[in-house]
Every structure is written in structure tokens, then in C-alpha cells.
């Protein structure tokens, strides 16, 4: 052949080694395909819960694989540098698989109550988890973008999952449009960075950029455009407008999953791309993110005060929390990134738990998420009242809950990196946040005439109880998780 290009050799042992590096992702993909077949094959009368079981087994396998690799395997690049199985990726794999299990646990009874189809729901959740894992293990702009889209598309559909509910449809349409807009920003920025560096592999970009002048307009524009897109994805102000509407409209298990998962995945992406790929442009992106962090904390906390819907309140609280986590990203280094990883991990328990309690309130006609819907919770179901109190105090940052230590690590990292003004803003705004977190607790513990018991399925109860117990236990013994977070931050801190 005259056009015979040289074919690089790709051996079986190489293929197995590559697959091993991404084994949590590969395992989960296999189970997702199996779940699709299960949903097709099993007759509808006997189908209830089977796909959920497949999903839980798949997520547990993936979790187990990630833990095994964390303990015994050597992480390294795979697929010609497109992905990696380092400890940073594994830390997030464990987080996302755990979050997936919790979500499936609370959504089974919710979907039955609202008469929604279960099969597609769990398949979409698995796809979103896979997208998040891909994002956390991506070391190339190509894979970063694919992971981002995989998780986003699954969640666009999931937020419109209640097809007879116009608010859910509105949420899906808004999320799709804003998400597409944000993806376009990210892609434009990536194209400029590629144009300046000539490669999409993040470690190579770091090498190339170090030889270029940091005032190169392509680089600065690329960083700014990517930063804007990333800020959309972590729902940080001033790019947060979509968050309350989407969180309010989407079915609550989806909101619970999204509020933790999308945020953690987007932070993994920010750290991978900015700290991993563009460390030489740190002053530029640190300035950009510092502005975004300060705005998020102020806008999120002040707007949350006036909300009467729990979903909207938690959405604004999530915007504020994104601001706190950004402090750790800006501070960087081992301490800063470890604080980010620690906070995202414990945020899973406290924020997911709060949403999970709201999930229980839902009726067949829709979600009940006004703050007054919580009234008399301690009479209706006292363990849930106690757990809700733990989650709110943890989100507000009271010791000895995990929220206190999360904020402590973030703020100390910020101060030691010289961002004292940002930490001062954060502390002041945390004080403000106590007001609205405690405001949620007033109806929970108030006496009321409405006292019919609130039933919760075993799986929901155990998921919420686990989140609550871990929110306290990890606060009483913060060291082991902090060490794990430091190991996870290792590959990306010089």
C-alpha cells in the first residue's frame, strides 16, 4: 500500500495494564451494560428492585476495586497518557461509588412512591458516576471533556425524570441550556490552550507552558474561558443562576446526587487542569478563582437567608460551600489540596444526608420541600430529627462534626498561603450561615398538631443513618481521613 502508515504495536499485556489502571471505571461500565440488559429482559412485574440491586452490586464492586488498588496497586498513566489510576483518581472513585450507593438506596422507595420507572433512573445514575470517575482520572483535555459531557448528559435527563411534573421539565431544559453554554466555554478555553501548547496531555501542557511567556494572550484567554466554564459547573457565583431552579425542579434524589457529585467532579477537574496542567499560570487562575470564591460565599450565604424552599436553601448553601472549597484550591500545595479532598468527602455525608431527609417528605403528588413541611419532625420520626440536626450543624461547621474540621483545614491552608482576606470573608459568612441552618431546625423541634408518623424504608433509613454516623465519627477521629486526603492530593502537589 502506498499509504501504509506505521502501525504502533499494542500488546495484550499493555491492554491489560491499561485496563487495570482504570479498573473502577471499567467494572462499573460492565455493570451498567448488564443493568441495561437486565431491564430489558426481566418482565415488568418482577422487575422492581432488580436493576437497583444490579446497580448497588456494581457500585460496590467498583468501590472494592478502588479500595484494593488504593491499598496494593501502583498507580500510573494508562492509554498513552489519556488517563491515570493514581491515588487522586482513586480517592474520587471511592467517593463517587459511595455516593452512588447512597443515592440508589434512597431513590428506590422515592421512585415507587411517585410512580416513576426505576430501570432508566439507576442506569442514568451509573452513567453519571462513570462520567465523574472518568473526569477524576483524566490527564488529557480530551478525556476531561468526555467525562464532563458523560456526567452532564446523564444528569440533564435525570433532572427531567419526573415527566409529568412541569417544574422537573423546566429544570432539565434550563440545565441543558446552561450546561451546554458552560461546556462551550470550557471547550473554547481548551482549544486556545491546545493552540498555545500543541498538546492535549496535561503533563505535556505543563512542560510546554513553562517555556512560554505567561503573558501569552492565548494562555490567559484559555485560562479565563476554562475558569468561567468550571465556575458554572461547580455552581459558583456569579455563574450560579441556574443552580436554585435546577435543584428545585429536579427529583430530590437527583438533586442530592447532583449537589455532591457534580460539585466534587468539577473540583477534581479544576485541580487536574489548573494545578496539574497549568501550574505555571497559577497567579492568573488564583486571582480569577479568588474573585469567584469571595462572590460565591457572599452571594450564596446572603441569598440563602430569605429562602422558604429547602431545596433552594440547600442550593444557595451549596453555592456558598463551593466558595469555601475554592479557598483550598487557590491555596494549593499539599495542605490546600488535602483540605479540598477532605471537605468534598465529608460534604458527601452532610449535604447528601440533608437532602435525603427531605426526600422522605415527598408524597405521590410531588416533593414537599418547604421549610414548614419539616414541622414536628421529632414527633413524626425522632431519629430523622436527630440526624437532620447533625447534618445542619455539620453544614454550619459546629464542632465536633466533620463540617468543623473541613472548614478548619480549608481556612488554615488559606491563611498559610497568604489569602487571609479571603479567609476573613469566609469566617464572617460562616457566621451568617449559622442563622439559616438553625432556622431549618426550628420547625423540626417545634410542637405541632400534625403528628402522623413519617415512614422510611429500611434502605433509606440506613443510608441516612450511615451519613449521620459518619458525619460525627469522622469529626471525632479526623486524622485517618486527613491522611487519606493527603495521599490523594500527593500526585498533584509538587
Amino acid at each position: 500500500m502506498m499509504l501504509a502508515a506505521t502501525i504502533p504495536t499494542y500488546t495484550w499485556s499493555q491492554a491489560l495494564a491499561d485496563l487495570g489502571q482504570i479498573s473502577p471505571i471499567a467494572t462499573l461500565t460492565g455493570f451498567m451494560l448488564f443493568a441495561i440488559v437486565t431491564d430489558l429482559v426481566i418482565p415488568i412485574k418482577r422487575r422492581s428492585g432488580v436493576v437497583a440491586m444490579v446497580a448497588v452490586v456494581g457500585l460496590s464492586y467498583s468501590l472494592g476495586t478502588a479500595v484494593y488498588r488504593w491499598l496494593y496497586a501502583q498507580g500510573g498513566p494508562a492509554y498513552s497518557g489519556m488517563a491515570t489510576g493514581d491515588s487522586f483518581a482513586l480517592f474520587f472513585d471511592i467517593l463517587f461509588a459511595g455516593l452512588g450507593i447512597l443515592t440508589v438506596a434512597i431513590s428506590h422507595s422515592y421512585l415507587q412512591k411517585r410512580g416513576m420507572r426505576e430501570g432508566e433512573f439507576h442506569i442514568l445514575m451509573l452513567a453519571a458516576v462513570i462520567g465523574m470517575m472518568v473526569l477524576a482520572s483524566a490527564t488529557s483535555l480530551v478525556t476531561v471533556f468526555l467525562g464532563l459531557e458523560l456526567l452532564s448528559i446523564a444528569l440533564y435527563v435525570a433532572s427531567g425524570f419526573a415527566r409529568d411534573d412541569s417544574r422537573s421539565q423546566e429544570a432539565a431544559a434550563k440545565y441543558l441550556l446552561v450546561g451546554g453554554f458552560a461546556s462551550a466555554f470550557v471547550l473554547y478555553g481548551m482549544a486556545l490552550i491546545y493552540g498555545a501548547s500543541g498538546t492535549t496531555l496535561l503533563p505535556d501542557i505543563a512542560k510546554q507552558v513553562s517555556t512560554l511567556s505567561p503573558t501569552n494572550p492565548l494562555l490567559i484567554l484559555g485560562v479565563v474561558l476554562m475558569g468561567v466554564g468550571f465556575a458554572f459547573k461547580v455552581s459558583a457565583a456569579p455563574f450560579h443562576m441556574w443552580t436554585p431552579d435546577v435543584y428545585q425542579g429536579a427529583p430530590i434524589p437527583v438533586t442530592a446526587f447532583m449537589s455532591v457529585g457534580t460539585k466534587a467532579a468539577a473540583f477534581a477537574m479544576i485541580v487536574r487542569v489548573f494545578a496539574g496542567g497549568l501550574p505555571h499560570l497559577a497567579p492568573e487562575w488564583q486571582a480569577l478563582l479568588a474573585f469567584v470564591a469571595a462572590t460565591s460565599m457572599i452571594v450564596g450565604n446572603l441569598t440563602a437567608i430569605t429562602q422558604s424552599s429547602l431545596k433552594r436553601l440547600l442550593a444557595y448553601s451549596g453555592i456558598a460551600q463551593a466558595g469555601y472549597v475554592l479557598i483550598g484550591v487557590i491555596a494549593g500545595g499539599k495542605a490546600g489540596l488535602a483540605a479540598v479532598l477532605y471537605y468534598l468527602f465529608v460534604y458527601m455525608f452532610m449535604n447528601f444526608g440533608a437532602f435525603a431527609v427531605v426526600t422522605l417528605l415527598a408524597g405521590p403528588d410531588g416533593d414537599r420541600d418547604r421549610i414548614s413541611d419539616l414541622s414536628g419532625l421529632y414527633k413524626r420520626n425522632w431519629p430523622m430529627a436527630v440526624l437532620m440536626t447533625v447534618f445542619m450543624l455539620s453544614l454550619a461547621g459546629f464542632p465536633p462534626t466533620v463540617g468543623f474540621f473541613g472548614k478548619l483545614f480549608l481556612f488554615t491552608a488559606g491563611v498559610s498561603a497568604g489569602y487571609t482576606w479571603l479567609v476573613v470573608v469566609a469566617v464572617l459568612m460562616s457566621v451568617v450561615s449559622v442563622y439559616y441552618y438553625v432556622r431549618v431546625l426550628i420547625p423540626v423541634w417545634s410542637t405541632t398538631t400534625r403528628a402522623e408518623p413519617l415512614r422510611a424504608s429500611i434502605s433509606s433509613t440506613s443510608a441516612i443513618a450511615l451519613s449521620g454516623v459518619l458525619s460525627v465519627v469522622l469529626g471525632l477521629y479526623p486524622t485517618s481521613l486527613l491522611i487519606a486526603a493527603q495521599l490523594g492530593a500527593g500526585p498533584l502537589s509538587p
Binding site: M2, A4, A5, P8, Y10, T29, P217, L221
Partner: protein, 168 residues
């Protein structure tokens, strides 16, 4: 010569893009999008990416756009109605576009672009063979991820478009 072709195609692409957002009739917007796709395919050809040029023509300008036209024809090509209360948005968006354009323009003054990679064998670059080899070796992982992405999109589309009570 190549420079002239580049600028003609680029101007067409920009004009088509403006047409997509400004025309009130959906059919005209779609036809403008076809112009954008055709102009982009010419740019790909200028970069010696022959296969992408053909794929762009057949898949985007051909198949996808025809599908768009079918959908619009089926839904009835209604004119977009007036802007209603949000009339100030047009002026505002124009202002932002000009500001962003000015910003980009001023930043890109005196920029030095990276030189093209030397030593690329143009007799194989951009052919079906070299793209195929790339897809199944270096870009295997992104390629497989794309298939997963399309699968999820298909599941989502089927779920959202299925009729009520069609649960078997």
C-alpha cells in the same frame, strides 16, 4: 492562494453563524448552519485533513442537517414570534458581543503563534488509515468513552420521548 481560500471560507462561516442566530424563520437558520458546516469543511481540507473534510460534508452538512430540516418541516416552520417584554436583551447582547470582541481583538495584538510541527508526513496525514490507526491505538480510550456517551444519550432520548403508559 491558500490564504485567500482560508479567508473566504472563514468569512462565510462567520456570516452563516450570524445568520443562524438572527433569522426569524427556522428554515433559514438551518440553511445558514449548512453554510457554516460547508465553510468549516473547506478549512479542514486546507489543514490536509481529507477524511475529516469528507466526514464533515457527509455527516454534518448532509445527514444531520437534512434531519434538522425534516424535523422543522414536520413541526411546521412557524415564524418566531416577537420578543415581547425582553426587547432590551437584543441591545444588551449586542453590547456584550462588541465588548468581548474588542477584548479578544486587543489581547490578540502582536501575538506570536506556535510554528507548525516539522516532519509531519503529509502523504499519510489525514488519511482514513492514519485516523483509523489513531482511533484504535493512541485514542482508544476517548473513542470508547464516546461510544458510552452516545449510548447514554440514546437511553435518555428514548426515556424522555416515550409515551405515557407505554411501559412494556
Amino acid at each position: 492562494m491558500a490564504i485567500a481560500v482560508f479567508f473566504v471560507a472563514a468569512a462565510l462561516a462567520v456570516a452563516g453563524g450570524i445568520g443562524v442566530v438572527t433569522f426569524r424563520q427556522p428554515i433559514r437558520s438551518v440553511l445558514s448552519l449548512v453554510v457554516v458546516m460547508l465553510a468549516l469543511s473547506v478549512e479542514f481540507l486546507l489543514l490536509s485533513a481529507q477524511f475529516i473534510f469528507v466526514a464533515q460534508l457527509i455527516v454534518y452538512a448532509g445527514a444531520v442537517m437534512v434531519l434538522f430540516l425534516f424535523v422543522i418541516a414536520l413541526l411546521g416552520p412557524a415564524r418566531e414570534t416577537g420578543r415581547g417584554r425582553l426587547r432590551f436583551q437584543a441591545a444588551l447582547s449586542g453590547l456584550f458581543v462588541l465588548a468581548l470582541l474588542g477584548l479578544l481583538w486587543s489581547m490578540l495584538q502582536g501575538i506570536q503563534y506556535r510554528q507548525p510541527d516539522q516532519g509531519t508526513d503529509l502523504s499519510t496525514f489525514g488519511t482514513v488509515q492514519s485516523i483509523g490507526i489513531g482511533l484504535f491505538t493512541k485514542f482508544l480510550y476517548p473513542f470508547e468513552l464516546t461510544s458510552l456517551l452516545l449510548l447514554v444519550a440514546a437511553i435518555g432520548a428514548i426515556y424522555l420521548s416515550r409515551k405515557e403508559g407505554d411501559d412494556r
